[in-house]
């Protein structure tokens, strides 16, 4: 047997046999966990707390206004920072004159950029710190910037044209692409995950029916209610940053690097967070270094600096979801069996890359033998994109799942049957019937647009996909049980509003036989055991297993104290409802607090590290959605009546907040489909709607009946069986709405948002044929 050049000894493992999958179709699976990991919760587990419906522990703080968000932090002697942003989309900075600002009474520090090239309106140029927000604003307005303006391009299609103004010179292109670059266009990029299989040309040739459609999704901005911002405070060489962030670790590392200081000297705190949706994963944000600037201003002024962006800045430079122009080609046999999927997209992440949209095309319908995804990044003079809730997948699913609907029409097939015919996931096969029943699929129009009158109802559906992302090491948790029986969990990840702290309390409570409210969860501080950034729907499933290990360790130690009191062996004990008891005769019991009193020291501290991720039941997360709409074909108004979202998230730790996540994703998706649209003036290159009046987000009166359904799937490759839910439920929404509009009206609208101007234009052109 030949040995590899540098053999790694296999890490020791322990084998568990688990009952995996969905309860309606269980499957026995052997998994190989790291030594020291415990048997995962599976379909046979009798869970008392986990999977229940637990109101979030911080709920009372939030609804009474006592929860402290970054925006609420106020320190003695604190100054207010304010950025000055480029007012033009393309230029060389000739001069930045801060002399007038510096002379304004109350101004304590000034910063200017060293960069000279302006590539989008909204880029960092200068900043000030002053004694009040009003003085800071006045000072910022006194900064005079002289620009040598250059030609610019903000429109995706115009940027693709030959001779379009170059956003970057060839040697300046970010990310050093390995794929061809032509003008502003980088690509084709074939993604690693599901980018290519078989031969698409052959698959299209074998097809009996083919379909080609081109689809467009505009730029959507994250628009969290709490804007990006920090408070930076120096104590000697110690820097403390309160940040509205999805990743306190990234802020720590990014600021240490930017400022040239040790990470150990940086503390980052995020107690509560007012929304991020992917835009708050960077050390500052994609299009602005506001946090770094705030730290520098604070150091310069010798006082804490608070720098929260305003709503305009939030739209201009903190990230967005790329616009994308996507062409999907499908080939199928007459019975609906797909022979080929070809997805070619041109997306613009503004001055950044990463505008790919091929995830759904490459990974849904994985039985299709021939598939090719070709993505292109197109640079424009616009603010850079950031990950937005399943990056690229909502746009990609809008294209693929609209095309699937069109193919079904061409084949004369029920669109749901076409999906079922090509389904590769056993989970989605279960989800289809649950969703169809909840929406009443049989009520849809047999002929699209077939109902009488101007207000037409329709029902549509679409699929979405996502992946199990989880960290397998470097994540820690500490459970402290005090002698008085009180329990604390310390964990360094931040709760971004998803209910993370409550889910972790439930895991501890499950192990210790307590109620979740008995566990005080301390999160969102880099001084506590290392956490993860909250992106990729990975927080619960990266951290939960470490929390469970720590809690399980504490459980064993408490059982050892209780055993002599009960005249039993620790391994014969169980715990529930604040009691520890002999599993075989529950009347032999002792209160958790009584057992804790027996500890030899004042506290038990159980620390655990996340063990490696192992075999999962499925590596993908399945989801499908059904939507009912009413379209007024005379006003172009689209009203969403109902959306049913069926999702796989592994085991939901807290069913209540899991459903909240699903409902939130539906709302964001419907809002994207119907309203949201960043508009840059075509002549001037600046954003005309950088506010929440003209950048429209779904209003309370536009709310629909939102029905979340969770298909619980055991075994996601960790001891809790949790996977993720933050992102996947937004993926199908855009297409489900558009397909419902088609069913209502017979008009296939391939371009979003579905505002009256667009809807009326499409219906009019459809009537003209």
């Amino acid at each position: 047997m030949t040995q590899e050049a540098s053999p790694k000894p296999p890490a020791p493992t322990v084998t568990y046999v688990v009952k995996a999958g969905h309860a309606s179709a269980p499957q026995t699976l052997e998994v190989h966990a790291a030594l020291g990991d415990i048997k995962p919760w599976d379909l046979d587990s009798k869970l008392r707390v986990v999977k229940g419906r637990q109101p979030r522990l911080e709920g009372p703080l939030k609804v009474t206004g006592r929860a402290k968000y970054t925006f609420d932090v106020s320190l003695p002697g604190m100054l207010w920072g304010r950025m000055v942003r480029a007012s033009v989309p393309a230029a060389e900075i000739v001069k930045i004159d801060t002399s007038k600002a510096e002379k304004l009474p109350g101004v304590k520090a000034v910063w200017t950029t060293e960069a000279r090239a302006v590539r989008f309106a909204g880029q960092d140029v200068a900043a000030v710190a002053a004694v009040s927000p009003e003085v800071a604003e006045d000072a910022a307005r006194l900064v005079e910037v002289t620009y040598d303006e250059r030609p610019f391009v903000t429109d995706l299609q115009k940027a693709m044209e030959e001779g379009a103004p170059a956003v970057y010179n060839a040697d300046q292109i970010p990310g050093k692409p390995t794929t061809p670059v032509k003008g502003n266009v980088v690509g084709p990029i074939v993604p690693r995950r599901g980018g290519q299989r078989g031969d698409v040309a052959k698959g299209m040739a074998e097809a009996e029916v083919t379909l080609e459609g081109t689809y467009y999704v505009p730029v959507h901005t994250h628009a969290p209610l709490e804007t990006h911002g920090v408070i930076a405070k120096w104590d000697g060489d110690q820097l403390t940053i309160w940040a509205s962030t999805q990743s306190i670790g990234t802020v720590r590392e990014g600021m240490a690097e930017y400022l040239g200081i040790d990470r150990k000297n940086v503390t980052v705190i995020t107690e509560h967070m007012g929304g991020g949706f992917g835009s708050k994963l960077a050390a500052s944000a994609e299009g602005t270094n506001f946090a770094g600037v705030a730290c520098k201003l604070a150091r310069q002024a010798g006082a804490p600096v608070k720098l929260m962006l305003d709503r305009r800045e939030e739209h201009l430079c903190t990230g967005n979801a790329p616009a994308a122009l996507m062409t999907v080609r499908l080939g199928a046999k007459k019975d609906g069996t797909l022979t080929a999927i070809h997805h070619r997209s041109f997306g613009t992440a503004g001055v950044a890359g990463g505008a790919g949209t091929g995830g759904p095309s490459g990974n849904l319908y994985a039985n299709t033998p021939n598939c090719l995804v070709e993505e292109h990044d197109v640079f424009t003079n616009a603010g850079p994109a950031a990950p937005l809730r399943a990056p690229g997948h909502s746009q990609g699913a809008f294209a693929l799942e609209s095309a699937m609907d069109e193919l079904a029409e061409k084949l004369g097939m029920d669109p749901l049957e076409l999906r079922k015919k090509n389904e590769s996931s056993p989970v989605r096969k279960i989800q289809y019937d649950l969703g169809a029943k909840a929406i009443g699929w049989e009520r849809r129009n047999k002929t699209a647009g077939g109902t009488a009158g101007p207000r037409k109802r329709g029902i549509g559906m679409a699929n979405g996909n996502w992946y199990v992302f989880a960290r397998g090491s470097g994540v820690f948790a500490e459970v402290k049980v005090h002698r008085d029986g009180s329990v604390e969990l310390f964990q360094g990840s931040q709760d971004i509003g998803s209910g993370f702290r409550t889910a972790m309390a439930m895991i501890v409570a499950e192990e210790l036989g307590l109620r979740p409210e008995d566990v005080t969860v301390r999160v969102g501080d880099t001084r506590w055991p290392e956490g993860v950034g909250s992106g990729g729907s990975n927080t619960t499933n990266s951290v939960g297993p470490a929390v469970r290990l720590a809690a399980h360790d504490a459980r064993g130690r408490i059982f050892a104290l209780a055993a002599p009191l009960l005249g039993a062996k620790p391994e014969d004990l169980d715990a529930a409802g604040g009691k520890i008891f002999v599993a075989a005769s529950p009347s032999k019991q002792v209160a958790f607090r009584q057992a804790a009193l027996k500890m030899p020291d004042e506290v038990i501290s159980a620390v655990a590290e996340r063990k490696k991720q192992y075999e999962t039941y499925r590596q993908d997360l399945a989801g499908t959605q059904f939507a009912e709409v009413e379209v007024d074909v005379e006003t172009g108004n689209v009203r969403v009546v109902k959306v049913v979202s069926v999702n796989d998230c592994g085991f939901p730790i807290n069913m209540l907040t899991t459903e909240s996540q699903i409902i939130g994703a539906m709302i964001q998706g419907v809002s994207w489909a119907l309203f949201e649209n960043r508009i840059l003036d075509r002549n001037v290159g600046t954003m005309v709607n950088p506010n929440l009046e003209a950048y429209k987000i779904l209003s309370s009166k536009d709310m629909f009946e939102a029905v979340p359904i969770v298909t619980e799937i055991a075994n996601a490759g960790n001891n809790t069986s949790a996977a993720g839910i933050g992102e996947p439920p937004i993926v199908p929404t855009l297409a489900a709405i558009a397909n419902a509009v088609y069913n209502a009206t017979g008009g296939r609208i391939r371009s979003l948002p579905l505002t009256p101007d667009r809807v009326l234009a499409h219906l009019a052109s459809a009537r003209r044929g």
Binding site: S87, E134, E137, D138, R141, E634, T635, G636, N637, R639, L674, F675, I679, D681, R682, N683, V684, T686, V688, N689, P690, E693, A694, K696, L698, S699, S700, K701, D702, T755, P756, D757, L760, A761, A764
Partner: protein
């Protein structure tokens, strides 16, 4: 925003004095529109003269003859909920009920609603030096003009933003303005100023004048209705709005008022559509004819042609609603 001082007068006369003694001072009622202007530095007044707590300017008083006297400080919510007004001048109540959001309707006044500046996204941002701000271009021309006007021919294409003005024009309201020479009364139809006359204003209120009363004639024998088309169901501006009123005798239209909002620089009364109705039975054919007549003269920009179809639908639908 710039710092300013807040002056709190106790009478209209004192308010006018407080305004006059600080050049650049402005009046404030509900403050919704003023606050937006301050935040965006479209106005940097040294003093705000707060009219909000002036006594006697907030009542909605139905008169014995069926007419209404509306104090300009009545909030949109109060107008929308007034039981008498809802009976006699339904379109006005409906227009106020549909505006903005509940929070804004509880603060915004009907006077402020009439006098507010346009919501055009170029006007509303300091960086665009447009015609309305003394510049020499209307950025909507050849720009992002989906929400702009289809009537009036410019040179500024910002649409008049007031929901309430649309039914008030239909009802032939009179506005009482109190200035240096005492009160004067202006018919609302003459009150608004098109950009051909002066793009930097939308009405003829003079510096220092205070709107003190809105008089709405009796609408005995009239039926009225307001409707609009919009993107969001709440917290949005109409794409097109319509206030329609008819006086019928034996099923035949004796008089009609058709006024459109968000299509031109002033509330847009369509005399042509009104003429198309007079003497006709109010039926589907008459409604259709009036709707078509209302579109005559529309000259859309590059992105707002859809408004022509919307106004046609709204005129037809509101008339049919009055017929039933």
């Amino acid at each position: 925003m710039k710092s300013f001082e807040l002056a709190r007068p106790s009478s209209v006369a004192e308010a006018r004095t407080m305004l006059a003694e600080r050049p650049g001072a402005i009046f404030k009622a509900g403050g919704i529109d003023v606050l937006d202007h301050l935040k965006e530095h479209l106005l940097e007044p040294p003093r705000l003269v707060d009219l909000k707590s002036l006594p006697g300017l907030r009542e909605i008083a139905p008169q014995p003859d069926g007419s209404l006297k509306i104090g300009p400080l009545a909030t949109l919510a109060e107008v929308a909920a007034h039981p008498g007004l809802r009976q006699t001048h339904r379109a006005l109540a409906q227009a106020c009920a549909e505006a903005a959001s509940p929070q804004i309707r509880n603060v915004a006044t009907i006077g402020g609603n009439l006098l507010q500046r346009p919501r055009c996204w170029y006007y509303r941002q300091e960086s665009y030096k447009c015609l309305k701000k003394g510049g020499d271009v209307c950025y909507a021309v050849g720009g992002e003009n989906r929400y702009h006007g289809i009537f009036g021919g410019g040179p500024s294409y910002a649409v008049h933003p007031s929901n309430a003005a649309v039914p008030l024009v239909a009802f032939g309201a009179q506005l009482v303005l109190e200035g240096e020479k005492g009160p004067r009364t202006v018919a609302i139809g003459d009150f608004f100023v098109p950009p051909t006359k002066d793009p930097e204003r939308e009405n003829q209120i003079q510096p220092g004048e205070v709107l003190t009363e809105i008089r709405v004639p009796a609408a005995t024998g009239w039926r009225s209705v307001y409707d609009d088309a919009r993107e969001r169901a709440a917290f949005d501006w109409p794409l097109v709005s319509a206030a329609t009123a008819v006086r019928l005798e034996a099923g035949v239209v004796k008089e009609a008022r058709i006024v459109l909002g968000a299509v031109g620089p002033v509330p847009w009364r369509s005399a042509r559509a009104e003429q198309a109705l007079v003497g006709k039975a109010l039926d589907a054919a008459a409604a259709e004819a009036a709707a078509s007549a209302a579109t005559v003269g529309a000259a859309p920009l590059s992105e707002n042609g859809y408004k022509v179809g919307l106004l046609k639908t709204l005129v037809r639908r509101t008339l049919l609603a009055l017929a039933s």
